[in-house]
């Protein structure tokens, strides 16, 4: 695997695969976040069944796992769209039209921030800073960071990604 191609083909939820992933990380000190990241990367979200499983495997309470899953913005609890879009809402992007881009994104996709299209094609998320603050407005499309994104660029990036089936990264 090189830096420039990081495939993460999404696997449908499977308890067997999940159990293996949990056990891969169970011996690390403070294993819960690494475990949840591994599950999230594999399945694209944290399945309700995963909470029970992780609790059992790590010998902690379900409430503890649930509490952590819900605390962190990264952990979805429903499957994402095939193309995952994040739009930056940070101040540096605001200074170069970021607010307008967020509005454009919600309008052109017909999606509120934090939701997925009913056909499962696209999910739209907010993010607070991608570390690309001199080249805003910034977005990520299927994990790829893009800078200086004007509304027209946004539409092109999204339609290209949807056409290529998402999952580039």
């Amino acid at each position: 695997m090189t830096l420039h191609e990081m495939p993460t083909a999404m696997t449908p939820w499977s308890k067997e695969v999940a159990t293996e992933l949990v056990r891969d990380h169970a011996a690390e000190p403070g294993p819960l976040l690494p475990v949840l990241h591994a599950l999230h990367e594999a399945f694209g979200y944290i399945d309700p069944e995963a909470i029970e499983l992780v609790a059992q495997e790590l010998n902690i309470s379900r409430a503890d796992v649930y509490g952590v899953v819900t605390f962190y913005a990264d952990f979805r609890r429903t499957p994402p769209g095939r193309v995952r879009i994040q739009v930056c809402r940070g101040e540096a992007c605001q200074a170069v039209g970021g607010r307008g881009l967020v509005e454009h994104a919600t309008r052109s996709l017909g999606l509120e921030l934090g939701t997925t299209a009913p056909d499962g094609s696209v999910s739209l998320e907010e993010v607070f800073c991608l570390g690309n603050c001199a080249l805003g407005p910034s977005v990520t499309v299927s994990g790829h960071l893009r800078g200086r994104v004007e509304p027209a660029d946004f539409d092109r990036l999204v339609s290209d990604a949807v056409a290529s089936g998402g999952g580039e990264r």
């Binding site: 830096l3 819960l32 990264d74 992007c93 607010r99 800073c129 603050c133 001199a134």
Partner: protein
Amino acid sequence: MTRIYVPRDSAARSVGADEVAQAIEIAAAERGVDVEIVRTGSRAMLWLETLVEVATPAGRVGYGPVAPEDVADLFVAGFLEGGDHPLRQGLIDELPWLAAQSRITFARVGIVDPLSTEDYEAHGGIAGLRRALTMSPAEICDEVTESGLRGRGGAGFPTGVKWRTVLDAASSTKYVVCNADEGDSGTFADRMLMEGDPFMLIEGMLLAGIAVGAREGFIYIRSEYPDAVVTMRAAIARAYEVGWLGPRVLGGERQFDLTVRVGAGAYICGEETAMLESIEGRRGMVRAKPPLPAIEGLFGQPTAINNVLSLVSATVVLARGAAFYRELGVGRSRGTQLFQLAGNVACGGIVETAFGLTVGEMLETFAQGTRSGRPVHAVQIGGPLGAYLPASQFDLPLDYEAFVEAGAMIGHGGIVVFDDTVDMAAQARFAMEFCAVESCGKCTPCRIGSVRGVEVIDKIVAGEDRAANIALLEDLCDLMTDGSLCAMGGLTPMPVRSVLRHFPEALHNAKDSQA
């Protein structure tokens, strides 16, 4: 064969560096010319990205900003020999924007192959560690204290003093944790360092480990930085291979192991105790102090927690001596700071200079105006919890104490510029909204006060009972300042108050439209 350098930094990639590298490869093959493309970090002159550099006998000649469609033209212009072209910037090291800086921590970023240990050593790397291995832990702490280095994560605590506290704590297990959460909007120096010179951070972690007596370290990187995570992990693997990490550091008697941990989208996990909770596998809830993490930190053990830039600065201190570092800077702000020019700037990127330039000088000399071409109206310094400064405060010198005196803070060095189309009321509202979203929830003034703050600002903007609501907003700010455990709730009032004070037209005198 000609050597060509194309950045692999994620900012450069966000505007097409991969596509440019590919176009060069294809064009070279078509023309049958032999080129070697080296992917480096970025010089952090981000308006020039994609900045392509060509090795010539006179030095590295830069072309930028290059788009893939420019590449054929560059070949025609003979760019492999440094030929003339409208995008030619000249010898990179002589560009005034760079030459006016003191790139002592960003010395290698954009120049070396980030994953080459040979490059790292050839460009002065590992010298600090070698020297440290000849010193006692206490001597290392003293040297860092003497240098005047203060934490670059925001609070500005003397790094050497912190290390000494951990060293003196009695325990057989201690940890070093690097704070690479870099959540502040307008900051990206930690990211660029990790992507462009990861061994420097590894060296900094090793130094801290030796100084405090720790055998294990964690680097906590925010999940919004996937490229930094990949690069750091690759560099760590390489460092194990060459024996910089592992059971016998540099062939000596010391052991040090290093692991990357990835955050999960919570700004509060940049606060050091919330970060420890997160590494331990819990919600990122801020811990009450005392105990200090230096006494009782990760897994209950003495822990040195430092920002990326503090750790890499320590390698400079050890390699070049405390006196060298101390001589840069002013007052109690010693050494260099990595200022990050962001937002609506013509020339965005990283300016590493000794402390002491004024805000205005920074804007004129380096930012060189706005990207939009409109006048600068406000500058937010120090991230989402930092103050908005109006033009009348641009004579403020960029040092810790001068900023505190003016009711502002340098924080992690982010400088976000806004032009005159900015709606300052909306910026004040955003500060409260951000706090509401990112609060860990432990203190009521922070958790609930911020939600109330958004509502009150909405009322003020709508022209509802303005005087009473402004008084209420001031009260809320007092309450949050006094009743919050950490700076999230405690400093959110800073940007809000700065808008009230310096931009009265935004809230006090807003038009009574819907009233």
